[in-house]
């Protein structure tokens, strides 16, 4: 199945350099907070699952790059705001303003200019590859191959 092989090789490509991430204790704490916050905001605005998955994907790829400065405590929150904003812009039809995005007890509130600069830093660090292969794309492909995409499955996917 060529398409599946292609998906997997593309997925590998997007996650190079990620191995160190999960071994780093303090970074994992920051990541947990960031992911937690992104999910809460996604729920607040009713974003799709794909948006949340993309936001976490961008965040993980970014923080495992050399451009992420872990000595600054606000950096991970700023990255989280930028990653969620980018994911929403890629996936959602209605995107809240950057200032409105910072809800759900955001630890810091950043001005628009700072977020825009971070957006650009994330974009260039990820080399503008904003359509990565995620677990959802694989599940979607397999379901389509098996012709399982009935209303029930669609409903399930929407809820998972």
């Amino acid at each position: 199945d060529d398409e599946l092989v292609l998906l997997f090789s593309k997925e590998k490509e997007a996650f190079l350099g990620q191995t160190g991430l999960f071994a780093d204790g303090s970074l994992m704490v920051a990541r947990r907070d960031a992911v937690d916050w992104m999910f809460r905001v996604a729920t607040h605005y009713g974003f799709t699952v794909v948006t949340s998955v993309l936001a976490v994907n961008y965040f993980d790829r970014f923080v495992s790059s050399f451009r992420f400065q872990r000595d600054k405590p606000w950096m991970s929150q700023l990255a989280a705001v930028a990653c969620l904003s980018l994911a929403a812009k890629v996936e959602e039809t209605q995107v809240p303003l950057l200032l409105d995005l910072q809800v759900e007890e955001s630890k810091y509130v950043f001005e628009v200019r700072a977020i825009q600069r971070m957006e650009l830093l994330v974009l260039s660090t990820l080399e503008w590859k904003m359509n990565p292969v995620t677990p959802l794309s694989i599940v979607d492909h397999v379901l389509r191959r098996l012709r399982l995409k009935t209303h029930l499955q669609l409903e399930f996917l929407r809820r998972c």
């Binding site: 980018l86 812009k89 303003l97 825009q116 957006e119 974009l123 260039s124 080399e127 904003m130």
Partner: protein
């Protein structure tokens, strides 16, 4: 802010402006290190209060994924606070200028066949919507054509909710002119227009405005009816008086596109099928008899 590593260095020397589009300007530039030319499109962020525009993010991400010998490739992306610069592979000549500059070589039937094949071979993955001779670049020495897609394209499976103007009327498919839903067949239509133009070196339709463009089409290809295009009556054209929708003397495709071999006329007719559902697909066009003796 110190965390931003400046990527805008002096890697490229900016030369003259070579184009101006809806999104911004296109410059010719020189890669100082490699001493090669490139074209650079600067996309300004029009709205300053909401970060990097979604259209820019999606457009560049899509261009990053395109990797095809018949598409101009995106070499580099440089960013600044108020814009991004997209650096593309540079070719001197576009198809429009090529036809004007080389009236004889440009009409060589084998070259036309080869160019058409190349244009078709990339077009089933991507919905371009803006195909016209000025957007197709020509490598004169290698006899290669490359589609210069500076960011209007989108993946084929993306939602179809387009409201803005995308193309000059002369190359626009009928379903675009009458605001119907559209998809990849619009590109096949445009490629058909370009095909005819490569043969005659004259635009097939002048398309001064949308109304005259529709009249030109119907005059050449016939007025559609519910049999040739089911659902056409719901598209908002008044078909009760077909005579009012045509102008001049009816001519056939082989009268207008003189010098094209019969299999070519057949392929062209299938590419210019008014009903988008019955228009030939790129996949089928590539195996058409016209290409058999290429």
């Amino acid at each position: 802010m110190d965390y931003l590593i400046d990527t805008m260095d002096n890697k490229y020397e900016q030369l003259e402006t070579i184009g101006r589009g809806n999104f911004g300007e296109v410059y010719k530039c020189r890669d100082r290190e490699k001493n090669t030319f490139a074209s650079m499109k600067r996309i300004l962020f029009r709205y300053q209060d909401d970060g990097v525009p979604g259209s820019v993010i999606r457009g560049v991400a899509l261009l990053k994924e395109l990797d095809h010998p018949n598409i101009i490739s995106l070499l580099d992306v440089l960013d600044d606070e108020k814009w991004v610069d997209l650096v593309f592979e540079y070719l001197e000549m576009d198809l429009w200028r090529f036809m004007g500059t080389y009236p004889r070589i440009g009409k060589d039937p084998n070259l036309t066949k080869s160019f058409l094949y190349q244009i078709l071979s990339d077009s089933y993955r991507i919905l371009h919507r803006n195909l016209k001779p000025r957007n197709i670049m020509v490598d004169v020495d290698k006899k290669i054509v490359k589609i210069a897609d500076y960011g209007l394209a989108r993946p084929v499976d993306a939602p179809v909710a387009f409201t803005y103007q995308v193309l000059s009327p002369g190359y626009k498919a009928p379903e675009l002119l009458i605001d119907a839903k559209y998809s990849t067949p619009v590109d096949i239509w445009s490629v058909g227009c370009i095909f005819a133009e490569m043969v005659t070196h004259h635009p097939l339709f002048n398309g001064q405005c949308e109304h005259t463009a529709i009249m030109e089409m119907f005059s050449l290809l016939g007025v559609p009816n519910v049999e040739t295009w089911p659902g056409v009556t719901s598209l908002g054209i008044n078909l009760s008086n077909p005579e009012a929708l045509v102008s001049g003397v009816r001519r056939s495709l082989s009268d207008v596109v003189k010098g094209l071999e019969p299999t070519g006329i057949d392929l062209l007719a299938q590419m210019l099928c008014l009903n988008p559902c019955r228009r030939i697909t790129a996949r089928d066009a590539l195996i058409h008899a016209y290409f058999r003796n290429a």
